[in-house]
C-alpha cells in the first residue's frame, strides 16, 4: 500500500506502532521515546510530503486507498439516489451518477467510478468508461438542467476505455457530444479532479464553470508512461515525462486550466479521509453558493469565455 518514496516514513510508523503497544502492556514506559519518535516522524513526513515530485504525485493520485467516488458520496452526501442508464444501450459502471444532497444543497452528482477490490474494479472497468457512460452522464446533466440543480462532476479515470466495442459504439462521438452540450448547459457545473484526470476520458465530463483539483491529483493529456514510451521510446522515463507534462495541480493553476487547489492532508488524502473529505466538501459548497446566484444564460457566457481564453493569444 505504501509508495517507494514513503518507505523511510513507513518504517518509523511501524516502529511507533510497536512502541505504543509496548507502552500499554508493560510497566516500563516509553513516553519520552515516543515523543522523540513523533517529532522525528513529523520532520521526515514534512520533508517527504512537502514537495512531491510530479511522478510521486502521480503515484499518490493513483494510490489504491485514495478516496473514490463512493467514499465522497458516503463522506459528503447525506443522500444519494443513483440513477441508471443512457436510455439507449446500457448502464455503464465506469461513470455513475444520481441525485445527491450535500448539507442542504441538492445536486446532480456524476463521476468516474474506480474500485478498491479486484471485483469492484472489474465491475467499474477500472474507471475507464464506455460511450454509454458518457451518454448516461449527459442524460443526467440534462435532467439537472431541467430540474434547475447544479451538476457536480468528480473526475478520476485513467482514460476512456480503449476497446473494440467502445469504438464501435462511438467513444469519440460520446465524448465530443458531451463537450458540446456541457458548453451550453444552463445550470452550474462544478468539476473536481479527485485522482487521475486521464485525457479525453476526463474532459468528457470535465467542462465546468469551476474546475477544482485535489492537491495530489493529476490531470494530463496522456499518461506519463504513454508519453515516455512515445517520446523517449522508453516507458521507464515516465518520471521525466511526468515532469514535462506539467500535470500537477500547481502547474495547472499556473496555466489557468483550473481555478483552485483543495489541499490534502499531509501524505495524501488516503492517509486521512476525515481530513480530506470535509475540505473537498467545503470548497464545493462555497463555489456552488457563488454560482447559484448567476443566471443560466450568464453561466454559459462565462463558461464560453473561460474556455475561449485557454491558450494565450
Amino acid at each position: 500500500m505504501s509508495m517507494d518514496f514513503e518507505k523511510p516514513l513507513v518504517e518509523l510508523e511501524e516502529k511507533m506502532a510497536e512502541l505504543v503497544k509496548l507502552n500499554e502492556n508493560e510497566d516500563v514506559k516509553f513516553d519520552t521515546e515516543i515523543a522523540e519518535l513523533e517529532k522525528k516522524m513529523k520532520s521526515i513526513s514534512k520533508k517527504t510530503y512537502s514537495k512531491l515530485t510530479p511522478w510521486q504525485t502521480v503515484q499518490v493520485a493513483r494510490h489504491s486507498q485514495r478516496p473514490l467516488i463512493r467514499d465522497y458520496i458516503t463522506g459528503m452526501c447525506s443522500e444519494f439516489i443513483e440513477l441508471h442508464g443512457d436510455r439507449c444501450f446500457g448502464d455503464d459502471q465506469g461513470i455513475i451518477g444520481g441525485f445527491a444532497k450535500i448539507d442542504d444543497v441538492r445536486v446532480m452528482l456524476i463521476g468516474h467510478q474506480k474500485g478498491k477490490t479486484v471485483e469492484e474494479n472489474i465491475k467499474s472497468n477500472f474507471g475507464m468508461a464506455n460511450p454509454e457512460g458518457y451518454r448516461k452522464a449527459l442524460r443526467l446533466m440534462k435532467l439537472a438542467e431541467k430540474y434547475r440543480i447544479p451538476v457536480l462532476s468528480l473526475i478520476d479515470t485513467p482514460g476512456a476505455y480503449p476497446g473494440l466495442e467502445a469504438e464501435a459504439r462511438g467513444q469519440a462521438e460520446a465524448i465530443a457530444r458531451n463537450l458540446m452540450e456541457m458548453a451550453t448547459l444552463e445550470t452550474p457545473i462544478v468539476v473536481v479532479i479527485t485522482g487521475e484526470g486521464g485525457s479525453g476520458g476526463a474532459i468528457g465530463i470535465g467542462v465546468g464553470d469551476v474546475v477544482l483539483m485535489l492537491s495530489n491529483s493529476v490531470y494530463s493529456v496522456i499518461s506519463p508512461e504513454g508519453c515516455a514510451s512515445i517520446l523517449w521510446r522508453d516507458g521507464s522515463k515516465a518520471p521525466v515525462a511526468a515532469d514535462a507534462l506539467k500535470l500537477t495541480a500547481e502547474s495547472l493553476l499556473e496555466l489557468g486550466v483550473i481555478d483552485e487547489i483543495i489541499k490534502e492532508p499531509s501524505g495524501g488524502a488516503h492517509r486521512s479521509y476525515s481530513e480530506a473529505l470535509p475540505a473537498v466538501k467545503e470548497t464545493i459548497l462555497r463555489h456552488l453558493e457563488k454560482l447559484s446566484k448567476v443566471s443560466g444564460r450568464k453561466l454559459t457566457e462565462r463558461r464560453f469565455d473561460k474556455y475561449a481564453k485557454i491558450g494565450r493569444f
Partner: protein
C-alpha cells in the same frame, strides 16, 4: 490521445507517398502510379480508390471557388505553454521547423471563401504540420473561425486530418477539445450549419471533439477515423482487430458518418447540402 503512436498503426495510416522521380507508390495498395496521373487524380489511387492526404492548400483549391479564399486568423501561431523539451530537443524548435517546412503557422488553415458562389467559413487541417495535432494555436484558430461564422451567419466547414492532441502542449492541448466544441455549440444554438469532413486520418482528441459533431459528418473512402489507437486497443483487449476497423466505411455502418464522398465530388456535395439550409 497523442498523434505519434498512430502513424505506425497500419500501412494505410502512414499516408506518406514514397515518391521517386517518375511515379508514386500508393500507401494503401502499393500500386505504382505515374506521378502526373497521381496528381491529376487528386491523389486518389486509381487502383484502390484510397484517398491520400492533401495539404490544406490543395484542399482549399479542391473545394472553394477559385480566387475566393481569404485567410483569417493568420496571426495566430504555435505557443509553448509547457516549455516542453523531449528526448530530441525543444518543442519550440520542432514547431519552428514545422512552420518552415510547411509555410503554415499552425496545423490548421482558416478563412472564408465561396462554394459555387455561396459564402462559407472553412478550417482545414494539415497533417504535415506536426501530424495535424491539436495545439492551442489550432484550437484558437478553429474557435475564431467559428466565431466569425457565427457573427456573419455563414456555414462553417471543418476539414479534419489529425493524429489527435499535441502532447507537447499537455493539458493546454486537451483543453482545446472543450474550447473548440464550445464554439460549435454556439453555432448549433444559432442554427448555423456546421459540416465536418473527417479525412485520413482523424483520430484521438480531434475525433473526440469538433470533428464528430457535425450536422453532417462526411468522410472520404478508406479514411482512418477513431478514438483510441489500433495498437492500444489490441493490447487492451488482447485480440486482433478486424481489417476494416476504424475505416470511414466501418463508421458509416456504425452510424457515425452520414456519407462517404469521393474527393472529386466533394465540392458539389457540399454545395448541394448547403442549399438545404434556410438562413434567417
Amino acid at each position: 490521445m497523442g498523434w505519434f503512436n498512430r502513424s505506425r498503426s497500419k500501412p494505410a495510416a502512414q499516408g506518406k507517398t514514397k515518391s521517386e522521380d517518375m511515379w508514386v507508390v500508393c500507401p494503401s495498395c502499393e500500386a505504382h502510379v505515374f506521378k502526373e496521373e497521381w496528381h491529376k487524380g487528386l491523389k486518389v489511387c486509381p487502383k484502390c480508390n484510397f484517398h491520400d492526404r492533401l495539404t490544406c492548400h490543395e484542399r482549399v483549391k479542391l473545394i472553394l471557388d477559385t480566387g475566393t479564399w481569404h485567410e483569417l486568423g493568420g496571426s495566430v501561431s504555435t505557443t509553448d505553454p509547457l516549455e516542453f523539451v523531449d528526448g530530441k530537443g525543444r518543442y519550440a524548435d520542432k514547431a519552428e521547423a514545422a512552420k518552415e517546412k510547411t509555410g503554415l503557422n499552425e496545423s490548421v488553415l482558416t478563412g472564408r471563401g465561396k462554394i459555387s458562389g455561396r459564402r462559407i467559413v472553412m478550417a482545414v487541417m494539415d497533417f504535415r504540420f506536426l501530424g495535424g495535432s491539436l495545439g492551442s494555436g489550432t484550437g484558437e484558430k478553429i474557435l475564431r473561425a467559428a466565431t466569425y461564422a457565427l457573427k456573419h451567419k455563414l456555414p462553417y466547414i471543418v476539414v479534419s486530418a489529425s493524429g489527435g492532441a499535441r502532447m507537447h502542449e499537455g493539458i493546454v492541448s486537451l483543453m482545446q477539445m472543450a474550447k473548440t466544441c464550445a464554439g460549435i455549440a454556439r453555432l448549433h444554438k444559432a442554427r448555423i450549419p456546421y459540416i465536418s469532413i473527417l479525412t485520413h486520418p482523424t483520430t484521438g482528441g480531434v475525433s473526440a471533439s469538433y470533428a464528430m459533431v457535425g450536422d453532417i459528418n462526411i468522410s472520404e473512402p478508406g479514411a482512418l477515423i477513431g478514438f483510441a489507437g489500433r495498437r492500444v486497443i489490441e493490447e487492451t483487449i488482447k485480440q486482433k482487430l478486424p481489417d476494416d476497423f476504424q475505416t470511414a466505411e466501418y463508421l458509416l455502418d456504425h452510424g457515425f458518418i452520414d456519407s462517404i464522398v469521393n474527393r472529386s465530388e466533394m465540392k458539389d456535395y457540399l454545395m448541394n447540402v448547403l442549399r438545404y439550409w434556410r438562413a434567417r
